[in-house]
């Protein structure tokens, strides 16, 4: 149908009005520069570290414990520096991290498989739903006697407990994510003729991503804790893992070395949280428009 001139003009006016309104309504990006953002993210952390070190130093000065038990920051950081120079800390950290990555990867696979099965199959949900949460609340250290019986004093025993510690949190993240998909999106998916597997593939799984990533993050925390407990309990000869170094430092009453290893464990935990899981969580939340900065 050819448009008359009047209609042509009317459509053009509508075009302009719509695009004007759109331009007004669409969001304007944050105007803050990158250095300003980096600085505002960093200075509170630096201040917190300075505060922590000051409190530590103050406690030492107060004479609450003798310095061979609780050394001040100075000697601890010298021990840390020495450990870094002679490679022992890097060796230990890389060994421990390798175990963490292997154990966590297995936990991820196990958690996803169990989570998907329980979320999809009603019978499995009734049978295992509360059991999964139960296992999650069980202290992982309680699994070690069994793990040692099953696998002797080996890396397998440690990995077993890491997987048992992390998988339930990951599975729960998957289940909660699938349960909490907004009904509106499910209806929209069904209106697009997505059923069964297709509905899972294109609607339920992506919609559950934010909750699943929280589960992954929690799973990592459980894995890291279980791993360090394991390395302290299951001492394997010739493997200078962080846990073993901690145990050795205690055996030799080498307080600075002990605290230095503890700092390494803390830093690795913080870095993994911030740069792996925190970054993953932020990118997912930004994608979904769930962050404050997106408003």
């Amino acid at each position: 149908m050819p448009l008359s001139d009047d209609q042509g003009v009317a459509v053009k006016v509508l075009d302009q009005e719509l695009s004007g309104l759109d331009a007004l309504a669409a969001q304007v990006g944050s105007a803050r520069s990158t250095p300003a953002r980096v600085w505002s993210a960093i200075w509170p952390k630096v201040a917190a570290i300075v505060l922590g070190l000051s409190i530590w130093q103050a406690i030492v000065w107060s004479g609450w414990k003798p310095e061979y038990a609780l050394p001040p920051p100075g000697p601890v950081f010298r021990a840390l520096w020495q450990g870094l120079l002679d490679g022992s800390i890097l060796n230990g950290a890389s060994l421990t991290l390798r175990r963490a990555v292997v154990g966590y990867s297995i936990a991820l696979v196990v958690g996803i498989v169990i989570g998907l099965a329980v979320a999809r199959v009603k019978v499995l949900r009734i049978a295992f739903g509360s059991l999964i949460t139960g296992i999650q609340t069980m202290p992982s250290i309680a699994w070690f006697p069994l793990a040692i019986l099953l696998f002797q004093l080996s890396e397998s025993a440690i990995l077993f407990v890491v997987v048992i510690g992390a998988a339930p949190a990951i599975a729960n993240g998957m289940i909660a994510g699938a349960d909490n998909v907004p009904p509106l999106l499910l209806r929209a998916g069904r209106m697009l003729d997505a059923k069964g597997f297709t509905l899972w593939r294109y609607v339920i799984l992506p919609a559950s991503l934010p909750t699943f990533v929280s589960g992954m993050k929690q799973g990592w925390a459980f894995a890291w804790r279980s791993l360090l407990a394991g390395e302290l309990l299951v001492i394997i000869k010739g493997t200078p893992s962080l846990g073993v170094q901690l145990q050795v430092a205690r055996d030799f009453a080498d307080a600075p070395a002990l605290l230095a290893v503890m700092i390494v464990i803390l830093v690795v935990g913080i870095l993994a949280d911030a740069f792996v899981f925190g970054a993953l969580e932020r990118s997912v939340r930004r994608r979904f428009g769930l962050t404050d900065s997106a408003i």
Partner: protein, 265 residues
Amino acid sequence: MTLSESELAARPTESSRLGGTVRVRDVSKVFGQRGDTTVALNRISLDVPSGAFVALVGASGCGKSTLLNLIAGLEKPTLGDVTLNGRCALIFQEAALFPWMTVAQNVSLALKLRGVPRRERAGIVAELLETVHLQDFAGHQPHELSGGMRQRVAIARAFAQEAEVLLMDEPFGALDAMTRDLLHDELERLWLDRGFTCVFVTHNVREAVRLADRVEVLTSRPGTIAETFEVPFARPRRIEDPEVAALAGVITTRLRQEVRSHATE
């Protein structure tokens, strides 16, 4: 009772025109089980011919949304038959876009699930976004758009489904008046251009008269059709047209009378 055959024939018919039909026969819908039941719809009948624009108005609780869900096949009627000829798309008050996808990906998914080959999708998506004037926002995430823009993406997605019947459930209810006016113009233009069939649920009588060929007034609890009003005015219309206002006044009076009848119950 609706547009006569000759009127329908007089409207432009092009090969691209899509218009499904809806036929609702003696449909009842009861929610709940034993003892504790609510009759949402009571023996309701409705015919929507190809290319018609029908608005359903009614106070809350009249089962307007239930009726749309029945037509869309999301729910099954307790009694009676619903026949839908042609593909349908349902547009909700909140545009139900997938937040993890861009605007273009949302539209493209509808094509993909319909089996359109990958290499054809990008072109169709671009074309559809242009029809709703959103070509510049293809790469945006839904949360970066305004409510009115999101509804237009939802409409583009409905076109990607090749919907012959658009079922709209108070689609502009959450928008500001200015945006709503523009979207009325836009929807009317798209409807005139593309010739789809539209069933439009609203509680805004002015909006119903502004847009529809026919306005059905629904009673509440249980929902059934109280009266049908034809809207014979020329298009394009505007919401401030005096005849639109006058008919809206008549329908509102009828609606109030209906609401009053529940006062003594």
